[in-house]
Symmetry: C2
DNA sequence: GTGAAAGCGCTAACAG
DNA sequence: CTGTTAGCGCTTTCAC
């Protein structure tokens, strides 16, 4: 037997206050016109019984649950976490709760969760992922609005929010150029990631606009790991001994690069400047020296996802892929050569 | 206007199949005795309408929602994530959904979420945190079962699940001793964390049992950062030049130590063996050399939290603080001196 | 085998 | 000002 008895209902309150249930409803929701005395009596009775309205009954009647579902394929990972927080930032104040479902990149699980969310009559759904590569929509004919965040739907009628990786790559290179670097190498993750290709593209286009190209003629695609960063550095330094900067596809690669550069007897940033991508604090801040890196503003992205979902729920849906701006975070690893230490 | 019309109800299905709502309910839930033909007709009608039972209506009637709330103080962080996953592992198969609330260590938010969870009539609540130090219970007189995971309640009548940090520290030291190390230093996080103190205690007691003590006579308390690990290493090597092992309070410290030891001209593990704590893959695996470390089995902890909650919901509650075992994960950083490389 | 009716807890509309 | 009634969508008796 479950502990305690079932919670107080509106009728319990009504009985205790000596009024009818309808009156209690009005009193507690501030509707209708009631005498001061009655309101006070009802409030006091509700207090005494620890009355809490049953959201199920309310939702049933209202046809709206003030709940949204959040399906993540990223197992609460690095990227989906800030997105979720941002979504909560946008939804919480509107008193909307978030139902979390972790599909673990499994189609079956995802469909299962979609079903339970719809059964629970959520007002809308946010789908998040760990990479922006387009994916199949979670379903067709979903009776509530859906927004994709940090992942994108192949259906252009859906709204997808992703970071503007190309522009982030461009920012990184523009910054390096502005500090006087011109022999710039580029080490990044697997080519199979759209994010890698976009970051590279942004970097290369920016160089081209300045009449330059990547030090080795192109990017070094590999893994998203420190290990790869270290390996690539050796190759890079051999191929382009006069290198004066390296733009890395993520912070882990950058950290590996920083270690390898230092161990090869070159100084960061004096000899070689470094820019990473992701602004993963635990990596970027612990890097020696601390890493200049591109922040994808994922929390902001999540917040916008939440707001767009609210708008769609209110009948103002958007569509298409929206690329949101990244921000360069300056740290030691790219300090201009002759600037004073601060 | 929200897109589409409201979802099909059981009456819609009944009408289409030419039967009564009650009959549809029986057919779809496999209750009562119905003719084959009717069942088929109903199923087909339900299919055609894309009928999905309304969980609100069901819950209202059943007095049970098959939903639990998960309140985390840890902003979806490092520690609460695996706990959540574990909880989902335990709850999901029982077709129970998880409502996620991030209190961000804020009392007000927490109370707010508690209220909305109770309004939604969740069947139970799991509270997770980022450290095991005892905290006030989330509320008194909560009408549903509550389990604390990776945090603990000051009320002994509550059930709290935490890692056995002392035993983890003991494991680490036992392992070092078993590989022939005897001059063992200990660098850890702030003394204000119960986890630090317990890990230290486990380490010291194990040493004492072997007639030994920490190399510097006691632990070096500091921050949970690589930076502190590097600083502490310098002090440690100066104070105890014959040091042959260092047990670190977490993986970040250990990684800082590894770098500093190497840069001081000593080899890991040949000269100095290293053991960390947390098994945070991204740190431990990227460490040079890869780090032997204590895993708190947080996912398992979360799973047990889920199971205990289910048991409590079914009327079999537990109480008290339960310390769950840690596991030592062996990697290069503590390889015995004369063992062959594999 | 199937239908009718009642009721879970709440709110909105209408009486009084 | 307050009470009564109906109904949100579903399941569960109890008749037929």
């Amino acid at each position: 037997m479950p502990p305690g008895k079932s919670p107080a209902t509106i009728s319990d309150v009504a009985r205790l206050a000596g009024v009818s249930p309808g009156t209690v409803s009005k009193a507690l929701n501030g509707r209708g016109a009631l005498s001061h005395g009655t309101i006070a009596r009802i409030q006091q009775a509700a207090e005494q019984l620890g009355y809490q309205p049953n959201a199920l009954a309310r939702g049933l009647l209202a046809g709206r649950t003030f709940t949204v579902g959040l399906i993540t394929t990223d197992s609460f990972g690095r990227f989906s976490i800030p997105v979720m927080q941002g979504a909560e930032d946008a939804l919480g104040p509107g008193r909307i709760s978030v139902f979390l479902c972790d599909s673990r990149d499994d189609q079956i699980r995802e469909q299962h969760y979609l079903r339970t969310l719809l059964e629970r009559r959520v007002d809308g759904i946010i789908v998040t992922g760990r990479r922006q590569d387009p994916r199949e929509p979670i379903g067709s004919d979903i009776p509530v609005p859906v927004v994709y965040a940090m992942t994108s739907s192949t259906d252009p009628a859906d709204l997808s929010l992703v970071p503007d990786d190309a522009e982030g790559g461009a920012d990184a290179v523009r910054h390096l150029l502005s500090t006087g670097r011109t022999k710039i190498g580029h080490v990044t993750g697997p080519r199979s990631f759209l994010a890698s290709r976009l970051r590279t593209q942004g970097a290369e286009e920016t160089l081209a606009a300045a009449g330059l190209e990547l030090a080795t003629g192109g990017p070094l695609y590999g893994e998203w790991t420190e290990e790869w960063g270290r390996q690539a550095t050796d190759a890079l330094l051999r191929a382009a001994p006069d290198l004066d900067a390296i733009f890395c596809g993520n912070d882990q690669i950058a950290r590996g690069v920083a270690d390898a550069v230092r161990e090869a007897g070159r100084r960061v940033p004096e000899d070689i400047a470094l820019v990473g991508f992701d602004n993963w604090e635990v990596i970027a801040a612990a890097c020696r020296p601390p890493l200049t890196t591109v922040d994808m503003n994922l929390r902001e992205l999540g917040r916008i996802a939440g707001e767009e979902l609210l708008a769609a729920i209110d009948g103002h849906p958007s569509a298409g892929i929206r690329r949101l701006p990244c921000t360069l975070v300056l740290r030691e690893s790219s300090r201009p050569r002759h600037a004073a230490r601060t």
